[in-house]
């Protein structure tokens, strides 16, 4: 393996000092002169028409600058297809906005909300995905009859993948030694719950100038999506450090648009930050996912056919559900080398706060419901799940439909080595005792193991465009619109540029996340930071270096390709003694601008496998996570500590723990989310950390300058189904109702009756 100067070495994050001293300015830490505060009056009813709204008294309250209702807000529409207004005459979930207030202080805005009088005409509500598609179900949108979102849309182009139909499904089932069938679901709609609630400051000036400061994982996406919809205005979007997102703060319109409308109405900057109760009860959650599936299998674990209906509960609107379904469909094929498919999704709206993008992006939701069906087959064939996943995970030369609807052929590496090493690290052979058999028993405590797999082909998704500017003083500035949301990617791209140009790391900078300064950047999503963004960054640095050498070559009387650079000096290869600083030729007024662009390439899937060991107290039903081992192959580590951070992230952001205790509890009589506080919404604490270990392989990927591929986004997704498997094995009973809280475990053990199922 090549010994790099920075790549693969642990280097401090560029933003580390600001973070540990509290100087990092997150969105709610910013104040702008004359700034107003926005608040939203939220619906008490899950489904209702607004008969009347009286804002007179609220307007009269001193300090109130604007009160907007559905009658006053601009008619900008969001979602796919465009169907979500900032405020509407109809509310579709408890917590939906009914009116907006801008006032001089938050307290005044809050009091103003209480003075708004609203009369509703209640409508019946529906929460269950199958109830919602029945003919007599309450209808949420006139334009979506049957409560089904259309699939023909432009999320990922005109052919966006909307099903997996391959081969001859009948023939596939005929070839099977046996068929298993069942309905499994992942419908606990956990909340990714970043610590920083969604927030924005918007300033509308004059007729057509808008500046937004966004806590967003993809601040430029807001501009790309809304600039034209707002009348081709001048829209500057500024990204702030993001206090966690996990996908949820990518499509930022749900919180940005109310602030923009209020600023447009008042002509003043308006800050609008969700409170935590709003974040938990009225912001986006994971998708609900239910699969009626059927799998044909050979005795050796070969899958001959997979058919299924995938019912996707998107809640009250579609933020990007079609996109998540497309990627989920693609990811199903990556985990399963099956020749015959008939897998048909249906995207359904219901009367609860919407599902949006979350780390795992459709794939986790799909896996969590699909894997239990596959494990029925594995159990019947008595196949070790590690062997099953190894045999079935996509290999070079295998083809698959990806999200764009195109057929892609895998050019990646074989992950079997990673699987073998992960199994070794975990001690799988010793701990695996067979299906529904515990690893060990100690009194009432039963231990079991389980494993899950996930990967996507999005590490090379979408366009990134970057400039790298060389300064005469021997420094480089990366013009890249990437936001820092915790992965350290802004630092990692500095390492890449420092490596290409052999500059000290402290001589490489990234421009602020400002759409006026930077070309288009889709953002650090889908594990694309290393491969796609990194690809554009590296190309720009190489381009700058080429121009530098062209400039300097005459001085050395050699060809440009004979030159090297290090620490802001140029020399002839093999003759490092004679060095000329960049400034000698660039002059103090010169600069060099390198350009790099990355275009989508879905042929290199990444990979993540998670092994879990759990302990179940069979007398209380409590599940404890004892040990987690993650295994992956990243080609080349960019920053070891950032990588382990991302891999450890498998527990959080509605990942593994969504199988253990994380859930959003919806009262389906009231339509309210009951656990909308951080005591009743469960998250993992420092006190109960499982042992965590990772086996990280570095098999070079030839298609990347540093042979690397990203894995950050996918780390939680194999976890929940692995926990189901582990608990089932521990207690000797198949159990599948996420999360595995004590009531469900005791019920599976026959110690109590079945708790009434949530509708």
């Amino acid at each position: 393996m090549k010994d790099y100067r920075f790549i693969g070495k642990s280097t401090p994050r560029k933003d580390a000092l600001d973070i540990v001293t509290g100087r990092t300015k997150f969105i709610n830490d910013l104040t702008i002169p004359n700034m107003l505060y926005g608040k939203v009056l939220r619906s008490p009813l899950p489904h209702a028409l607004i008969k009347s709204i009286d804002t007179t008294e609220a307007m009269r309250l001193q300090g109130v600058k604007a009160v907007l209702t559905y009658k006053d807000v601009p008619d900008w529409k969001a979602g796919f297809p465009h169907h979500v207004r900032i405020l509407d005459s109809k509310v579709r979930y408890v917590g939906e906005g009914v009116a907006l207030v801008a006032a001089e202080t938050e307290d005044i805005a809050e009091e103003a909300l209480r003075l708004i009088k609203v009369e509703y005409e209640p409508l019946p509500a529906v929460y269950d995905v199958e109830e919602s598609i029945k003919p007599d179900a309450p209808q949420l949108y006139d334009q979506f009859p049957g409560n089904v979102f259309p699939q023909d849309n432009v999320v990922f182009g005109p052919h966006t993948l909307n099903e997996v139909v391959i081969g001859d499904i009948e023939k596939g089932f005929e070839e099977a030694d046996f068929i298993v069938e069942g309905t499994y679901a992942y419908e606990n709609i956990p909340n990714p719950l970043p610590p920083e609630s969604p927030g924005v400051i918007a300033l509308w000036e004059g007729t057509d100038n808008l500046t937004v400061w966004l806590a967003s994982q993809g601040p430029q996406i807001f501009k790309a999506a809304f600039q034209r919809r707002m009348g081709n205005i001048n829209l500057q979007s500024l990204g702030n450090p993001v206090g966690g997102s996990y996908g949820s703060k990518y499509m930022s319109w749900q919180y940005a648009l109310p602030a923009v409308a209020l600023s447009k109405a008042t002509g003043k900057p308006v800050k609008f930050c969700y409170g935590k109760a709003e974040h938990l009860a009225a912001f986006t959650l994971r998708l609900g996912s239910r699969i009626h599936g059927k799998v044909g299998m050979k005795k050796d674990g070969t899958v001959t056919a997979l058919s299924g209906d995938w019912l996707v509960n998107s809640g009250s609107f579609s933020e990007a559900t079609q996109g998540m379904v497309a990627v989920g469909c693609g990811e199903a094929q990556l985990m399963l080398r099956c020749k015959n498919w008939s897998f048909i999704p249906k995207m359904v709206c219901t009367n609860r706060t919407a599902s949006g993008q979350v780390r795992g992006f459709g794939g986790q939701e799909l896996k969590c419901a699909l894997t239990p069906i596959l494990t029925m087959g594995m159990e019947k064939a008595d196949v070790d799940p590690v062997d099953f996943f190894k045999k079935n995970y996509v290999k070079a030369g295998d083809g698959f439909y990806w999200r764009d609807g195109d057929w892609w052929v895998c050019r990646g590496i074989d992950y079997s080595n990673a699987i073998n090493q992960g199994a070794e690290t975990f001690g799988w052979k010793e701990k695996w005792k067979g299906w529904l058999k515990p690893t060990s028993v100690n009194g009432a405590k039963y231990r079991g193991v389980g494993v899950g797999v996930h990967g996507n082909a999005d590490a090379g998704e979408d366009v990134s465009e970057v400039y790298v500017r060389l300064e005469p003083n021997g420094s480089a500035i990366i013009h890249c619109g990437i936001a820092e949301h915790g992965t350290g990617q802004r630092s990692s791209i500095c390492k890449m540029v420092a490596e290409v140009l052999q500059l000290p790391l402290d001589r490489v900078y990234v421009t602020p996340t400002d759409s006026l300064v930077n070309p288009i950047e889709i953002g650090p999503v889908g594990s694309r930071g290393t491969y796609a963004i990194g690809g554009a960054v590296i190309a720009a640095a190489e381009d700058a270096k080429r121009q530098l050498f062209e400039l300097m070559a005459p001085k050395f009387k050699v060809k440009p390709e004979d030159l090297e650079t290090e620490d802001g000096m140029v020399y002839v290869k093999g003759k490092p003694d004679k060095r000329i600083p960049w400034i000698k030729e660039m002059q103090y007024y010169g600069s060099i601008m390198g350009h790099g662009r990355f275009e989508s390439d879905f042929s290199i899937p990444n990979f993540m496998m998670i092994f879990t060991e759990v302990e179940v107290d069979t007398e209380t039903g409590k599940v404890d996570l004892i040990r987690v081992v993650g295994t992956t192959d990243v080609g080349q580590v960019i920053d070891p500590l950032s990588l382990t951070n991302q891999l450890n992230g498998c527990l959080g952001s509605a990942g593994i723990d969504s199988a253990i205790f994380e859930e959003t509890v919806l009262d389906t009589r009231l339509g309210r989310i009951m656990n909308c506080n951080m005591i009743d919404y469960k998250w993992r604490t420092f006190s109960e950390l499982p042992e965590m270990e990772h086996s990280i392989l570095e098999t070079p990927f030839p298609t990347h300058r540093f042979h690397a591929i990203g894995v950050g986004e996918i780390t939680p997704s194999p976890g929940p189904s692995a926990v189901l498997m582990a608990v089932s094995n521990a207690i000797g009973v198949r159990i599948h109702d996420y999360p595995l809280t004590p009531d469900k475990v005791l019920s599976a053990l026959g110690k109590i009756g079945s708790p009434m199922r949530r509708e």
Binding site: I679, D743, P755
Partner: protein, 325 residues
């Protein structure tokens, strides 16, 4: 947070006078970790007009032991209780219970008096006003308890009639097991009351003009085994799904005295009197423990989603009696 008037009190007498003056429109702040949440989320039909800070009263945060027992000032923080060598030595049950409350930061400001008087955690009762309005349940003068046919996984499995919220205090059940009494100050002077008689289905016997001034715990027999078990999904932060406190005295395996108290299973802490009676004179074994657990929970009638709490409660009682964890 909506504005209120704020008053510092400097003595118990002054507090009582202030409470009388504000005629039920004031709330005491003995730590604030529960109160501030109640105020921020605007869950009460009547927002208090005055907050009386009693942390400003000197001398109410002491722990004094004599030969008969121990007197704990109402403003003693949970952290101080946990750190007290006296409590660790003779009243370990209270230390254990206090140690399971919330988090270190909360225990640094939450007080024992506040912990006893905290409001229920029922998520219907606590539903925040900012997301569609607070819920007017039975406890707030509404007609019904929405938990009965709703999301009742954390609610009462016994002893509830109109409101199925449970008493969340961990220290309460420890104090009841220890036979502690409260000194309650009011307009008519002070009264003492066993902690066991403090709670009512909708709160406590404390009227709006009173405050807890001190807690007295008689010294338990040095051979009595004190145990506390709390079942939660997570060790820190969480309120009990079921908690159990016990003092069991036995000689060579034969029990001759037992006090067992359950928390979070009913609107008030529950003494398991039948189980206590049953255990006396019995040689402790797994069967006996299981039988005692059954008796402890004999009155239980779980709701649609909380039968598991009954199983857990029985397990916890059994494990307490057996000395298991």
């Amino acid at each position: 947070m909506k504005l209120f008037a704020h008053v510092n009190a400097y003595s118990v007498d002054e507090t009582i006078k202030l409470l009388a003056k504000y005629e039920g429109t004031a709330k005491l702040n003995a730590g604030g970790t529960d109160l501030l949440g109640v105020l921020k989320n605007r869950i009460l039909p009547n927002y208090p007009e005055v907050i009386i800070n009693i942390k400003s009263i000197p001398g109410l945060n002491t722990i004094e032991e004599d030969e008969e027992g121990i007197n704990i000032g109402t403003l003693t923080t949970l952290a101080d209780i946990i750190a007290s060598p006296v409590i660790e030595k003779n009243y370990s049950l209270l230390k254990e219970a206090a140690g399971t409350v919330a988090s270190p930061q909360i225990r640094n400001i939450a007080t024992i008096g506040g912990n006893l008087c905290q409001d229920t955690r029922c998520w219907y009762y606590r539903y925040p006003d900012e997301v569609g309005g607070m819920i007017k349940c039975f406890r707030k003068g509404g007609k019904t308890c929405p938990a009965v046919s709703g999301e009742n996984q954390y609610h009462a499995i016994m002893g509830a009639k109109k409101c199925f919220a449970v008493c969340p205090s961990d220290t309460a059940i420890a104090l009841i097991a220890l036979g502690a009494t409260l000194t309650i100050a009011g307009a008519e002077g002070t009264r003492t009351l066993p902690v066991e008689e403090f709670y009512t289905p909708l709160g406590s016997v404390l009227n709006s003009g009173e405050m807890i001034a001190a807690i007295y715990i008689p010294k338990p027999s040095s051979v009595a085994g004190q145990r506390f078990l709390k079942f939660t999904l997570r060790k820190p932060i969480d309120f009990a799904i079921v908690s159990v406190a016990s003092i069991i005295t036995h000689d060579q395996g034969v029990c001759f005295d037992a006090r067992i108290v359950l928390g979070a299973v009913a609107p008030t802490p529950v003494r398991a009197l039948k189980a206590e009676e049953f255990l006396k004179g019995k040689e402790l074994s797994e069967e006996i423990a299981a039988e005692a657990a059954g008796l402890a929970m004999a009155e239980a009638k779980p709701l649609s989603k909380n039968a598991y709490k009954l199983e857990i409660a029985k397990t916890l009682v059994k494990r307490l009696v057996m000395g298991l964890t």
